[in-house]
């Protein structure tokens, strides 16, 4: 009787192995779709995405970031096909999404942003719970960024433009009564800034005002170089409507474009503020630069410097 039992265990187990382990290998051999990730080394780039993948594995990124888009997902790009994964071993499909899906991550953000995000996630993404990977070496960091930038193999259109203000704010440009490039307007805006904004954004616009301590999503640091690229209408839009998902108030609350005199701040005051805010962002060459990641960790969050060493853009990442 026990012999029959042992035989039964043997037979059932090998039947199951045959059906669920061996048969898929025989029947399921997807051909490369040509849309899989390509990890070729780029001479110009000084970074190796294939090695970056090993860093990705070593640091266990896949415990929180998945690499397959599902039918029900929104905003993560086109659906994946079986042929996309032929060269992905060990597979990095992932099990849980504590962070966003990375299937089509390549090119979504500039490499510099990715790097800053790895060093101090909360400096560029307020409220994030990603751990800091500041202990990675320069080479590891560059390779990892190279890997992230190759993900998706250009399946999704690259982000080439910044977020723009809605159409009506572009029209508002025509009705503005303040010369936003003048020193006088900036001076007027400075007073308004101290009265209304400094409590959170700080006296120097570093995003470190006293109220920022209690805020879960930290206020913006206006000295960052990329604020140079904000057009007037976008500043005006942000001041008027606030920033969704943060405590930034809607300073134009109560006003309409038809009757613009209402609101906490009048449109004129908001334009003065625009003039002042435009003067805050620092030029790149004047900002502190750091060559060493160990030094970098001692720099204050709100002064996260630019990484000058091995400035690098990936083969398919784009700006």
């Amino acid at each position: 009787m026990y012999r029959a039992g042992a035989l039964g265990v043997l037979i059932t187990f090998f039947l199951i192995i045959w059906a669920t382990v061996l048969m898929p290998m025989v029947l399921f051999n997807p051909k490369p779709s040509g849309n899989g990730n390509v990890y070729s080394y780029d001479e110009k780039a000084h970074a190796d995405p294939a090695r970056g993948r090993r860093v990705f594995v070593r640091e266990g990124c896949f415990y929180c970031h998945t690499q397959f888009t599902r039918l029900q997902d929104r905003g993560y790009g086109p659906l994946v096909k079986a042929g996309d994964y032929v060269f992905e071993t060990p597979h990095q499909l992932g099990t849980a999404r504590t962070g966003p899906d990375l299937t089509n991550e390549g090119g979504k953000f500039p490499s510099e942003w990715q790097k800053a995000h790895l060093i101090n996630p909360r400096a560029v993404k307020p409220g994030s719970i990603m751990p800091s990977f500041s202990y990675l070496s320069d080479k590891d960091m560059n390779d990892l960024v190279a890997y992230i930038q190759t993900l998706g193999n250009g399946r999704e259109k690259k982000v080439t433009a910044y977020v723009e203000a809605p159409e009506e704010y572009k029209l508002a440009l025509a009705t503005k009564t303040v010369d936003t490039n003048s020193d006088a307007a900036a001076n007027a805006g400075r007073g308004l800034y101290i009265q209304n904004c400094a409590a959170c954004h700080g006296m120097e616009g570093l995003g470190n005002g006293p109220n920022s301590i209690s805020l879960e999503k930290k206020p913006a640091n206006f000295t960052r170089p990329f604020y140079k690229q904000y057009p007037d209408d976008f500043w005006f839009y942000r001041i008027t409507e606030g920033v969704p998902g943060t405590r930034m108030p809607r300073w134009g609350d109560g006003a309409t474009l038809a009757d613009p005199r209402g609101g906490i701040l009048t449109p004129e005051q908001r334009w003065y503020l625009v003039a002042y805010l435009k003067t805050l962002s620092k030029d790149r060459d004047r900002e502190e630069t750091v060559d060493n990641l160990r030094q970098l960790n001692k720099v204050k969050v709100e002064q996260l410097p630019i990484l000058t060493k091995e400035q690098w853009e990936p083969p398919s990442g784009g700006e």
Binding site: T20, F28, E59, Y85, E88, Q92, A96, I129, E216
Partner: protein
């Protein structure tokens, strides 16, 4: 002699040493889980220490708990229960102790490598090649030892626990061998299919089968009631043997793997209800008339709690493995809660019961304190419910976020309170485990010292006289 000290031949020593090692590693592994939980609610807790980065802690937590705490404890319990059911000694106590050392060496290796990020990058199969080989050798030694014990048994009939143990010791080494993929290179999705075959069967063909075997052993022993039905227990055994192994693909239901494989996985997941309900009917009928023992007898209380959690896990599991539910809750913390329900709720509790029942019998000492056992139960029980509730609620918030396309930086703020509660629950559970370890230490080591002291005192008195 040195050989006797290192590879003791004393009866029960292998079992005892495995149990002690399991408790030792559980402190590190559960501690790492707790620390990772703290980092979830305070991500800037540590900076620049790669060994304490959340993903490294997670790797060590999963492997430390699965390979260290649960597996070592299971082997300890098997080494006690199999000889007791076969009415004979363990075939080779020396081989058992040798395996114990090998496994501890494996755990030291796992501790040093995983925390430094030396990983194969496959979930549940992170251990590097050398450690994989060590684990397989150790598993082969354990199987040999147990099978030879059965060959030399004094009773003819095999009790159902032995079916489970023997089945598990045949299945698990093979599942481990197939699942590691250390020396093979499979294309991405095939790698995932085999990976989840392993990832689910380390539960199905090892933790569940040995765990249920231990329940079958402990319930009749602690209550004194005979098993309700031998026929039902056989039905349960064959149900698990048939339906558990093909379920792995339900972990990747929305990925582009073949539909027929997903169908097999979902169908057998739902069919799992059959053996589970059979087994639990059997358990609860065995308890008939003895439920009051849950209040007074601590091993019984741990066992029955474990059975209750087993019912909960195995109803929740098939429920969320169906395509409709999986569509919604997959990728969220709900699943993490479910994993803890199985491994912490069910199998940690049954292992604690086995140790509370078995350790006094292999070491010949009574537990230092019953109060500490109760404290252990309460801390783990309440801590576990807090963890399950917070993870499930967080998972539902997350699932809604994914389902309705809400940007992650909006809903991620909404689950902060649940991360915090989870961290608290982790502290409670680890505290419970430390109490367990302290109690074990006091039980095993202090009375001996006290006795020795008393003897020395008597001798001194004699000399003085």
């Amino acid at each position: 002699m040195l050989v006797d000290r290192i590879l003791s031949n004393q009866e029960g020593s292998a079992s005892r040493n495995f149990m002690i090692s399991a408790i030792w590693w559980s402190l590190f592994a559960m501690g790492a889980g707790m620390f990772a939980g703290l980092e979830f609610s305070n991500p800037d807790l540590v900076h620049n220490v790669p060994q304490l980065a959340m993903p490294h802690l997670r790797m060590w937590h999963v492997n430390g708990v699965a390979i260290g705490w649960l597996s070592m404890g299971y082997v300890g319990a098997i080494y006690y229960m199999v000889p007791s059911l076969a009415k004979t000694r363990l075939w080779s106590e020396r081989l058992g102790n040798f395996t114990m050392w090998a496994w501890n060496l494996l755990m030291v290796g796992a501790f040093c490598t995983l925390l430094n990020g030396v990983t194969e990058g496959r979930e549940y199969a992170e251990l590097c090649a050398v450690l994989d080989v060590m684990a397989l050798v150790a598993l082969a030694c354990i199987s040999l030892n147990v099978y030879m014990t059965i060959v030399h048994r004094k009773v003819k009939k095999l009790y159902v626990s032995l079916w489970y143990f023997l089945g598990a010791l045949f299945w698990f080494p093979l599942v481990y061998l197939i699942g590691q993929r250390t020396f093979v290179y499979l294309p991405g999705l095939n790698d995932a299919i085999v990976g989840w075959f392993y990832g689910h069967n380390i539960l199905g063909m090892w933790f569940t089968t040995v765990g249920v075997g231990m329940m079958y052993y402990l319930l009749p022993r602690t209550t004194g009631n005979p098993l309700y039905s031998h026929g039902l227990s056989m039905l349960g055994f064959w149900g698990i043997a048939l339906f558990y192994a093909p379920t792995g693909t339900h972990h990747i239901l929305q990925s582009p793997v073949p539909e027929w494989l997903k169908a097999i996985a979902v169908i057998s997941s739902v069919f799992l209800l059959v053996p589970v309900l059979t087994v639990l009917t059997n358990f609860f009928m065995t308890m008939k008339g003895k439920w009051q023992l849950m209040v007074t007898d601590m091993p019984t209380r741990f066992t029955v709690t474990s059975c209750m959690f087993y019912l909960f896990t195995c109803v929740q599991g098939p429920f969320q493995a169906t395509r409709w539910i999986n569509w919604y809750v997959h990728f969220s913390q709900w699943v993490v809660g479910h994993a803890h329900l199985a491994l912490l709720g069910t199998f940690s509790f049954i292992l604690s019961a086995a140790i509370y029942y078995g350790l006094p019998r292999v070491s010949g000492r009574q537990w230092h304190s019953q109060g500490l056992i109760r404290a252990h139960w309460w801390l783990k029980f309440l801590g576990f419910w807090l963890m399950l509730a917070s993870l499930t609620i967080a998972g539902l918030v997350q699932a809604a976020g994914w389902q309705f396309g809400i940007p992650i930086d909006q809903w991620s703020m909404q689950i902060r309170p649940y991360w915090f509660l989870r961290a608290i629950s982790g502290i409670m559970i680890v505290l419970g485990q430390f109490i367990f370890a302290y109690n074990t230490y006091k039980t095993l080591y202090t009375p001996a010292r006290a006795e020795a002291k008393a003897r020395a005192k008597a001798q001194a008195a004699e000399v003085r006289a």
